[in-house]
């Protein structure tokens, strides 16, 4: 028995030895240094290239272009939707119809289009639809033809032919609906004799189907009708007399994205020019009046109106002429320049507005129908109004703070394993201003929930020199900004999906201006030194 006991004990000891060890999770901290970001950029990297112009001396200008969306060709020369009705029935009594009998006259008629005061003689449609609703109350098959012979596509008139089934009973008619795409059709609005305007030549005929043999007595209750709807007509070209009308444009505002991210601070501009241009591509005389122009800062609740002689003054703008090349008309262009010397445009921009407001009046054909119904419009080229802001980059900035949000995705990082660390910004600043940045975390409702960098370190301005009354960067200054992140901040940052970034700029030279050159650049390297917990 003893020998078996010994054997059993031995086996147990061996089993315990081999299988008894149970381990807990192993972990340790790594001190990691990782480059986060780098880059060297000038003002042309910060602002869209197309906005930047370089002067001969290497200094820069920002040219911001925006157009006035309020001048809409449709509002001036639109063709409204129209419904045309055609109906045949006996006025009284009864009559008997046979196969092949015509129910309607077979000669065309003229249908006037309600476009007054516009008097169109010709048009080409870019798009539009004709919806045809046909109804037959006669208990025999009826062939219906609807034709607009003054509308042609490749020389063929617009025509709809359909055979309507017999009405199923004396009280119930048969119905057919059709739709025709009118894109590309050319419309002649001068009528049969060519002496009218806004007039289409139409033909509606109804005939008992010749193959439907037999007599049928019809009464005044038996009708054949057509309802024609012309919808969404958008011409690509029209000709005629466009009327003598006063059309208001605005008051309205156009958004200026250039200053949209400014949150606080003040800006001093050395000079600024804004060019206001009206281009008339339409073959119609215009009388253009600027009732008001203004800039509005929603941020500061400031509105400044333009002081310039153009305000309240009407200007006649001649009609465009036909061109044999593209674009198909030669525009009449009128422009006005607002600058330091003739307006308060600098002050209007120094409030860093988000909106540019306008209130215009456009009076078409102020002298009447002097063209003899030969006004014309290529609708792609109507009346354009644009603003071009030409801003030399000479300014002073007093703690201008921009604000922007950035969507972030740190899902690739094991956020819980990052303990704490320090972000270090190495900057070589060749710009003549100090810079800093604050970073906040946003929740789903864009509310600030925590800060990553609440008190920004300073990236110092390049050394300054002065020439021609302007300060400019003379070399570059190296700065190191350390951003310590505790474990909570690190975790919050890595779990966030949206950051609020607040860059800050300060020239510190007010009231003197600094000048930015194309050679000014800032080099940035951002590194992260952090503890990372390895778990195994």
């Amino acid at each position: 028995m003893n020998k078996y006991k010994s054997l059993l004990i031995g086996v147990l000891l061996t089993a315990i030895f081999v299988f008894s060890c149970k381990r807990e999770e192993l972990s340790w901290d790594l001190d990691l240094t990782v480059p986060v970001a780098y880059g060297s950029f000038g003002i042309d990297d910060l602002i869209t290239d197309s906005l930047i112009t370089e002067n001969a001396d290497g200094s820069l200008r920002i040219v911001y272009h925006t157009s006035v969306p309020g001048i809409d060709d449709d509002s001036l020369f639109g063709i409204p939707d129209t419904t045309l009705l055609y109906n045949y029935n006996l006025p009284f009594g009864t009559t008997t119809v046979y196969e092949g009998s015509y129910l309607t006259p077979t000669s065309p008629s003229q249908t006037a289009y309600g476009l007054s005061p516009i008097q169109l003689v010709f048009g080409t449609l870019e798009k539009g639809k004709m919806k045809v609703h046909l109804k037959n109350d006669i208990q025999k098959r009826v062939i219906v033809i609807y034709q607009i012979s003054s509308a042609e596509l490749n020389g063929n008139p617009l025509e709809v032919i359909d055979t309507l089934p017999p009405a199923p009973s004396p009280t119930v008619g048969s119905v057919t609906d059709l739709e025709v795409d009118l894109a590309g059709y050319e419309l002649n609005f001068t009528g049969i004799a060519g002496d009218r305007v806004n007039t289409l030549i139409t033909l509606f005929t109804a005939q008992i189907d010749p193959s439907d043999v037999g007599a049928q007595v019809i009464t005044p209750a038996d009708s054949v009708s057509a309802e024609i709807q012309l919808e969404g007509l958008r011409p690509s070209y029209i000709r005629g007399y466009f009327g003598s009308e006063l059309n208001p444009v605005g008051p309205d505002e156009t958004y200026i994205s250039f200053f949209s991210k400014v949150q606080s601070g003040s800006l001093g501009l050395d000079s600024l020019r804004m060019k206001f241009t009206v281009e008339n591509y339409a073959g119609v005389d215009l009388r253009f009046t600027v009732n008001n122009l203004w800039s509005r800062s929603q941020r500061t609740a400031q509105t400044l109106y333009l002081n310039h002689p153009i305000v309240g003054t009407s200007v006649n703008i001649n009609r465009a002429a036909y061109s044999n090349s593209y674009p198909p008309s030669i525009p009449q262009i009128n422009s006005w320049t607002f600058d330091n010397s003739n307006s308060n445009i600098v002050e209007m921009m120094e409030i860093m507005p988000e909106f540019l407001g306008y209130d215009f009046s456009i009076y078409t054909n102020p002298l009447g129908n002097v063209s003899g119904n030969n006004d014309f419009l290529y609708t792609q080229f109507g009346i354009n109004a644009t603003f071009d802001i030409d801003l030399p980059v000479n300014f002073y900035a007093d703690n201008i703070v921009l604000v922007d949000t950035v969507d972030v995705d740190f899902s690739g990082v094991e956020a819980d394993d990052v303990q704490n660390g320090v972000l270090t910004v190495y900057a070589s600043n060749g710009f003549p201003f100090d810079a800093g940045v604050q970073i906040y975390l946003l929740d789903a409702t864009n509310s600030i929930i925590d800060s990553v960098v609440a008190a920004p370190g300073t990236i110092y301005s390049a050394p300054l020199a002065i020439s021609g009354g302007y300060f400019f960067a003379n070399g570059s200054t190296n700065s190191i900004v350390k951003i310590p992140l505790n474990e909570t901040q690190t975790s919050s940052l890595l779990h966030s999906t949206r950051l609020l970034i607040r860059p800050r700029f300060h020239t510190g030279t007010a009231p003197d201006y600094v000048k930015i050159y194309s050679t000014n650049r800032i080099g940035i390297n951002i590194t992260a030194d952090f503890e990372y917990r390895v778990k195994n």
Binding site: V11, V18, P35, A37, V408, D409, S411
Partner: protein, 423 residues
């Protein structure tokens, strides 16, 4: 019985060879005449055994114990460990558990056939001190310096083994033993970094890395740890010559263990990396144009140009060649000198000298010695041996008693246990 004990230390001293593939004991040795415990006539032997061995010549046993047990390793402790590293370090681990059965032919101990079923795991690694510091401390301390982890690698293999052996007395004083094993291989992971360097800029603004490396991995997509991903064969051969002396006996023995191979199946993944990377972070100008920060970028593929393929792969088993000389003096004392040369592992050659004393009345023995090499530095093996009821033999020992006493000051550790029952 007394003379039966003579051979104990021949195996004990080899068992303390904490090196190579760690399977320094042939578990049939309990039945081998002349150099093991029982030299009398017996019909059969049944044994169970288990051993767990691990060590490193650069990292002390306490650190390895903590790695195995788990828990948090604080930075000061890691730094203390790192300060003890060599320029090039080696580490290994092994476990071996199984049962064996031997039956004598012709009712004689002169010849015996044996069967053994073993479950084995072997890990062998070599690494530079920079590799250790990168892995356990990070790259911050390498600012302005280059961390070199070239010629670092590890290989981890687990397998099961069915062994059939035969020993016999070749002549009056010589013995020979041959065993063949069929191998069912389970898991295989290997990495070899032929060239690997990482330069961290002094201010941390850039990383400059280059690597030329191979990675192998057996199919681990599904299945248990006993899933068979490869098959192989191995051979063990030993030969011993005994020479009777006036006041004792001396023995000379050579042996080869685990000379064999494994053919891994076609799902074995081979990934080759040959890349140089210069990384400065995210390009800010890209962020300005596209204000989306995606921390998933850059991806691994942006850095590493690798070539992955699945294919058949053959590997050698970690093997060892060993030679030993034992001088038995009287019936109580014996001294043994042994040396080993490892193959297909990162272990260093190993040497040991051991002394054994026999307690004749107690039917027990104790042995101790000094060893150096393998995966560890200085080692002091200790082993106890006891016979119960003339049939049950219990062996237990440690490969380095110093590591048991002071694991933070010494390298290499292991426990060994074997229970044999004879008829």
């Amino acid at each position: 019985m007394k003379k039966y004990l003579i051979g104990i230390f021949l195996s004990c001293s080899s068992a303390v060879m904490f090196a190579q593939n760690f399977t320094s004991e042939n578990h049939f040795m309990a039945s081998k005449p002349g150099y093991d415990t029982i030299t009398g006539k017996r019909k059969m032997v049944f044994a169970v055994h288990g051993n767990l061995l691990y060590g490193s010549d650069g990292v002390n046993t306490g650190f390895l114990n903590n790695l195995y047990r788990g828990g948090f390793l604080d930075s000061a402790y890691i730094e203390e460990t790192a300060n003890g590293l060599l320029g090039l370090n080696r580490a290994g681990a092994h476990y071996d558990a199984g049962v064996s059965f031997g039956i004598s032919l012709k009712d004689s101990s002169e010849s015996m056939i044996q069967f053994s079923l073993r479950r084995r795991f072997n890990l062998s690694a070599r690494f530079s001190d920079d590799a250790f510091r990168l892995g356990f401390q990070g790259n911050t301390q390498f600012k302005g310096e280059e961390a070199d982890f070239s010629r670092s690698g590890f290989r981890a293999v687990s397998w099961s083994q069915l062994q059939i052996g035969y020993y016999t007395r070749e002549t009056k004083n010589t013995y020979i033993h041959v065993a063949v094993s069929g191998i069912a291989a389970h898991t295989y992971n290997e990495a070899w970094v032929e060239y690997g360097k990482l330069f961290t800029d002094g201010s941390g603004t850039s990383l400059d890395a280059g690597a030329y490396a191979d990675f192998y991995s057996s199919d681990t997509s599904s299945g248990s740890s006993l899933r068979v991903n490869g098959v192989g064969l191995s051979v063990d051969v030993s030969w011993m010559k005994m020479r009777p002396l006036k006041n004792g006996t001396d023995y000379f023995k050579i042996e080869c263990q685990d000379f064999g191979f494994i053919n891994w199946n076609s799902k074995t993944l081979h990934r080759k990396i040959d890349t140089t990377v210069y990384y400065q972070g995210i390009d800010i100008s890209e962020m300005i144009l596209n204000p989306q920060i995606n921390a998933n970028l850059p991806s691994e593929n942006d850095f590493i140009k690798n070539d992955s393929s699945s294919k058949f792969i053959s590997t050698y088993l970690p093997a060892v060649f060993r030679a030993s000389y034992t001088r038995v003096i009287g019936n109580k004392h014996a001294i043994k000198l042994s040396g080993s040369m490892p193959f297909w592992s990162y272990a260093l050659p190993y040497g040991a000298i051991t002394y054994r004393y026999t307690f004749i009345k107690a039917e027990a023995m104790v042995s101790g010695g000094i060893a150096y090499g393998g995966y560890a530095k200085l080692q002091v093996p200790l082993k106890l041996y006891k016979i119960f009821n003339e049939k049950v033999i219990v062996e237990a020992g440690t490969m380095n008693v110093l590591s048991l006493v002071s694991p933070d000051q010494f390298t290499g550790n292991g426990l060994y246990f074997k229970l044999s029952y004879t008829l």
